[in-house]
């Protein structure tokens, strides 16, 4: 306790035995392990509730007529199943079926992600089976430049792209009939094109690519099974 600098200790004063070192490390590791496990157990319910709330909020935002939601999984090579507890196998497609007040299917919400300017842009999009189009988008997470890239949630012209973005499937239901493309501002001519925000082209493209990739993977497997989802009471 008397020394201010540890290296000033008298040379060869005490050589600590290996046992003491291991014992000290073991005790510290044990105490720390206990603290971590306890705090994990204590915070887990609240953290899960928070995550569920955040997802529900995102789904209700892209499908405003929805009143309740249910999560579904399509495992690789498997059939559509309601999400159970436990981790699904890797490569599982996840989506949310949203139901209106009468228990009828109001739409499908799914997440898409693509690399933006600063980091991955994760978006939630709402799909309406009746018009076979995307009817709304919301951002799940992004780190785009404030005032530039984050216009994707404020720019009215850009949001207007997602009132009825065409995502029809082709005749043999293997892919989208038309790939979703982000085009230069003011050159949108087709329903499956997205008018980019000038100055935020990279972020706009990330939104388009995120929706395209997710829709190409999900819709060919989902659309043939839509009748299974049409009524909440059937599940």
């Amino acid at each position: 306790m008397s020394c201010h600098a540890p290296q000033a200790a008298p040379p060869a004063a005490q050589i600590t035995s290996t046992f003491t070192l291991i014992r000290a490390l073991g005790i510290v590791a044990g105490i720390c392990g206990l603290i971590i496990v306890t705090s994990y157990q204590l915070t887990l319910p609240a953290a899960q509730a928070n995550r569920r709330l955040a997802t529900e909020r995102a789904v209700f935002k892209v499908l405003p007529e929805a009143k309740s939601i249910a999560e579904f999984h399509i495992p690789p090579g498997g059939a559509l199943t309601p999400a159970g507890s436990g981790d699904p196998p890797p490569g599982t497609l996840k989506f949310y079926a949203a139901y209106d007040g009468a228990g009828q299917l109001a739409g499908i919400a799914a997440e898409g992600a693509a690399r933006g300017y600063a980091d991955t842009v994760r978006i939630m999009f709402g799909y309406s089976p009746s018009c076979q189009c995307v009817v709304g988008i919301g951002v799940v997470s992004m780190r785009e430049t404030p005032g530039i890239g984050d216009k994707i949630i404020t720019d009215k012209d850009f949001i207007a792209n997602f009132k009825a973005l065409d995502v029809r499937l082709n005749d043999d239901m293997t892919a989208l009939a038309n790939e979703i493309k982000t085009v230069k501002r003011g050159t949108k001519t087709q329903l499956w094109q997205i008018d980019a925000i000038s100055g935020a082209t990279i972020t706009s493209r990330a939104v388009g690519k995120g929706i395209n990739d997710a829709a190409q993977a999900l819709l060919p497997k989902l659309v043939p099974n839509l009748d299974k989802l049409s009524d909440r009471s059937k599940q």
Binding site: H4, A24, L25, V28, S39, L44, N50, S141, T145, P146
Partner: protein
């Protein structure tokens, strides 16, 4: 690094205030710059980051101090890091339980508190030599000093960069925000401006008989 002496190990207000003013971690010791520059885009982010660091600092210094007699000096850094990492993990879980939005905003910087040299520095330089209460007192003071520093930077950046303070709009709709202030360069600008201000203040204090700079000039420099 000089300590006034180890004679008086009782917690006292000087120890507490040392971290907030004389040896403020941000403006005097200039420690922990990574979170200081990265998360201070708004006042609320600064407060949460500051309080998270304060909790980690206080809890780990208390535990290090409690166990100081049984930790051999050969493995002290390893045990300190394990203890610090434990409380960082606890903080990480707690923030996820409190608010996911906050967790997204602070991002990887919560986990990076482990590497904040302020925390290890306090454990090594103070907590390992003083009894638990004194260590807790000093660490809390340092943590609050760090929080104060972060809020002073984050507040200025939020006012200039978004025109708000704690989310409340301060100017009319005509205000054109200085976007650069919420981008990384803004952190350096504001940090530099505060350091300049404190350097001027210190220079003036050391020569009280020769006031070289008029008070007006100090205001303009900010």
């Amino acid at each position: 690094m000089s300590f006034p002496g180890v004679q008086d190990t009782r917690p006292n207000w000087d120890e507490f205030m040392e971290g907030i003013w004389q040896r403020n971690p941000v403006f005097v010791m200039v420690l922990g710059m990574c979170p200081t520059l990265a998360v201070t885009v708004s006042a609320i982010n600064s407060i949460s980051m500051g309080l998270a660091t304060t909790f980690v600092l206080a809890a780990s210094c208390w535990l290090v101090s409690l166990m100081r007699k049984m930790i051999p000096k050969e493995v002290r850094i390893a045990t300190y890091i394990v203890i610090i990492a434990t409380f960082v993990t606890v903080t990480d879980y707690a923030i996820q339980a409190i608010s996911l939005e906050m967790y997204e905003a602070l991002g990887a910087y919560i986990q990076l508190i482990v590497a904040n040299c302020l925390v290890l520095g306090r454990a090594e330089a103070h907590a390992a030599r003083f009894p638990p209460m004194a260590a807790l007192f000093n660490a809390t003071g340092m943590g609050l000093g760090f929080t104060l520093g972060l809020v002073m930077i984050g507040g200025v950046r939020e006012i200039l960069g978004s025109g708000t303070l704690l989310g409340v709009p301060l100017f009319g709709a005509d205000f054109q925000p200085w976007v650069v202030m919420v981008l990384p360069p803004g952190g350096f600008f504001v940090m530099g401006a505060w350091l300049l201000l404190f350097a001027i203040y210190r220079a003036r204090k050391q020569r009280p008989d020769k006031p070289g700079i008029k008070p007006d000039a100090v205001k303009q420099a900010s």
